[in-house]
């Protein structure tokens, strides 16, 4: 489904070039559950941003379902993010003024889905992450684990082909982290392609495959 070939991402800092990614080549199959591991600054977040079409590689190619992402316009990449890619962040990034339902509805709002359908689908997505009884709670009325589950519901409500999670347990206590990882695992079991960035080996071990990155390059594959 996803093919990355000879990917470089270089930042210019002052007079010198910093290589966030060095010659990364990676294939992700439909239904994969891949953990990207490595210390902070190893380039795993950069890799995730490129996978999520938030960032563009300096060189190399990225194919998504056979489409060369590098040749897509901004609008087409936006559409890709909207309907085919779901994001889960370390800090949840829920809008504090909206309740759980409103947050889950957000991606549908910008996709132009009607109000009635948004409501229905958000309710189902929240039910799927076990938060049917928290639909009208605002983020500050939810625990960390519940917030992340709302964020996961939001990430999958558009039924994306690819679910990207950036340190999804990084801001959670142990019990909540286990909940969230089980949720991601069960989604993968139902066929959802998941790419997970973490520096926690235990979290990474739950994925079916893993790559280890260091200094922008993939140094180990499992």
């Amino acid at each position: 489904m996803i093919v990355l070939r000879d990917l470089w991402r270089t930042y210019r800092v002052g007079d010198s070039d910093v290589h966030a990614l060095r010659d990364v080549t990676l294939e992700i199959e439909r239904g994969d559950y891949l953990a990207v591991m490595g210390p902070s600054g190893s380039g795993k977040s950069t890799l995730l941003n490129i996978l999520g079409c938030l960032d563009r590689p300096t060189s190399g190619s990225y194919a998504f379902d056979g489409h060369d992402v590098g040749s897509l316009s901004d609008g087409e990449r936006t559409r890709l993010r909207q309907s085919e890619i779901g994001f889960v962040f370390q800090f949840f990034h829920l809008l504090p003024r909206l309740n759980a339902q409103g947050n889950v509805e957000l991606p549908m709002l910008f996709a132009g889905v009607s109000r009635a359908e948004r409501r229905q689908r958000a309710a189902r997505a929240l039910e799927a992450v076990g938060l049917s009884d928290r639909v009208h709670h605002r983020p500050d009325q939810l625990s960390g684990g519940q917030r992340q589950r709302v964020a996961i519901a939001r990430a999958v409500v558009m039924e994306p082909r690819l679910l990207l999670a950036d340190e999804p347990t990084g801001n959670l206590d142990r019990a909540a982290a286990v909940e969230v990882m089980e949720l991601l695992g069960s989604m993968n079991a139902e066929g959802q392609t998941v790419v997970l960035v973490t520096h926690d080996p235990e979290v990474g071990s739950r994925a079916t495959s893993a790559v280890r990155m260091d200094d922008g390059a993939i140094v180990e594959r499992r």
Binding site: G75, T78, E84, F110, E190
Partner: protein
């Protein structure tokens, strides 16, 4: 298998999607020129209001900023417009067929020998105008001055109008008590006096002034009447004035010329014809064209245009405060953009297009300023009503164009000053925007 019941996320194509699989293409297709889903304006406004409610104080202050500007526009145009209508009404109340004869000619003189000598406008001229011009229905001379009027131990310096009985008709005066100056030969300088209501109250208190003898300078007058309250009209405060026969006034103030002659033509007479007749008559009598005849229309039109310009000037001044309010909105929106970097990054990650982000922030700015416009309309309207409550005779009313214009203006202010912050938001790099928490 987890206990979260994820059966509703089928990803194989043959399974029945429950979560809206039907609304999108089964396979990702690239559409050229795609710029984001069409989000209904109602949804955008709802989203904007939600965001604005998150910062009540900030929202309130910027709404107040616009409201002050709009209220100022509303109130000042109402006052300017009121002043204009007041003046027009005052003149119309006099009748539109009024001519005013002024001694002297408004043009450069001195070309002829002895040029520039101005003949007096005399009582005889006045009599000629009333008797020899058929278009003239009636006329009243004015000979003015200022003198101290005394009664008992009280004294008051008042404007004095010397005139004839006709003035009561020409100026539509109302008698409160007694009667007006007696009709008769204008050359007869009698010793009758008519008091303005304020003069009567000041000098006589509760006592009736009728028949009493008052002193005007060194002269003695008998009060024959008191005017009904009228208020200021065309430069004269008829409440604070005394009226005596014209001839007497000229003698007291040692004048040889009248100040004005007010001429009222018969209804339906052409003002220009009357004007020419008067000019011809006085030119013949004076052997020179040395008077000016002003038509009521000319005065009204002049004042009308002056006050119209005044209204516009007031509006322009008030608009400055609107601009200030607009800059305030821009400030608030810029703060909002930098404060909501995460939100913007998130929206981009969720697939909001650049155009949509732009629309979100423009809508917010427009909602802010339109809200301010509505509040300002209400406040300005209330201020105008309060003003009319205090001064009921002043016809202050906000013209319709000002209401429409201020609403449109407030919206434009929002959009105009919302562009810069909204563009900044739309251009934000999502990766940077999402960094940290």
């Amino acid at each position: 298998m987890s206990n979260f019941g994820l059966r509703i996320f089928p990803l194989s194509p043959e399974s029945q999607g429950v979560v809206g699989r039907q609304i999108r293409n089964p396979k990702f297709e690239i559409q050229n020129g795609w710029r984001g889903g069409v989000v209904a304006i109602g949804e955008l406004i709802a989203f904007a209001i939600g965001a604005l409610r998150g910062h009540r104080l900030r929202t309130g202050l910027s709404v107040a900023g616009v409201a002050v500007g709009i209220a100022a526009v509303i109130a000042l145009t109402a006052l300017g417009e009121g002043a204009r209508q007041y003046v027009v009404q005052e003149f119309s109340a006099l009748g539109t067929n009024l001519l005013i004869v002024v001694p002297g000619k408004v043009e450069t003189t001195g070309m002829m020998p002895f040029g520039g000598v101005i003949n007096d406008l005399t009582i005889d001229d006045y009599r000629a105008v009333t008797t020899r011009i058929p278009e003239v229905m009636r006329a009243a001379p004015l000979a003015t001055g200022e003198e101290t009027v005394r009664y008992g131990g009280l004294a008051r310096s008042v404007p004095v109008i010397g005139t004839t009985a006709e003035l009561v008709e020409v100026r539509r005066l109302k008698i409160g008590a007694g009667q007006y100056l007696p009709p008769g030969d204008p050359d007869q300088g009698g010793a009758e006096m008519v008091l303005g209501i304020k003069v009567a109250d000041e000098l006589f208190g509760g006592e009736s002034p009728l028949g009493k003898v008052v002193r005007l300078g060194d002269w003695r007058f008998r009060v024959v009447g008191v005017l009904a309250p009228r208020g200021r009209s065309l430069g004269f405060d008829f409440d604070d004035i005394v009226q005596i026969p014209a001839r007497t006034s000229m003698r007291i103030f040692n004048r040889t010329s009248l100040f004005r002659i007010l001429v009222e033509l018969h209804p339906g007479e052409d003002l220009e014809v009357g004007k020419k007749a008067i000019l011809d008559l006085l030119a013949e009598r004076h052997r020179a064209e040395d008077v000016t005849v002003i038509t009521q229309d000319a005065v009204v039109n002049t004042l009308d245009s002056i006050l119209g310009v005044l209204t516009l000037a007031l509006t322009a001044i008030a608009s400055v405060s609107l601009t200030v309010a607009g800059v305030g909105i821009m400030n608030v929106m810029l703060v909002a953009v930098s404060e909501r970097r995460h939100e913007i990054g998130l929206l981009k990650a969720l697939g909001a297009s650049t155009v949509q982000i732009l629309a979100v922030f423009m809508t917010e700015a427009a909602v802010l300023s339109t809200l301010g416009g509505v509040v300002g309309l209400a406040v300005g309207g209330a201020a105008v009503r309060a003003f009319v409550g205090v001064y009921p005779t002043f016809p202050a009313a906000t013209p319709m164009w000002a209401i429409v214009a201020s609403l449109v203006m407030s919206m434009i202010v929002g959009v105009f000053f919302g562009v810069v912050p909204a563009r900044r938001a739309a251009r934000l790099d999502p990766v940077e925007a999402l960094v940290g928490r």
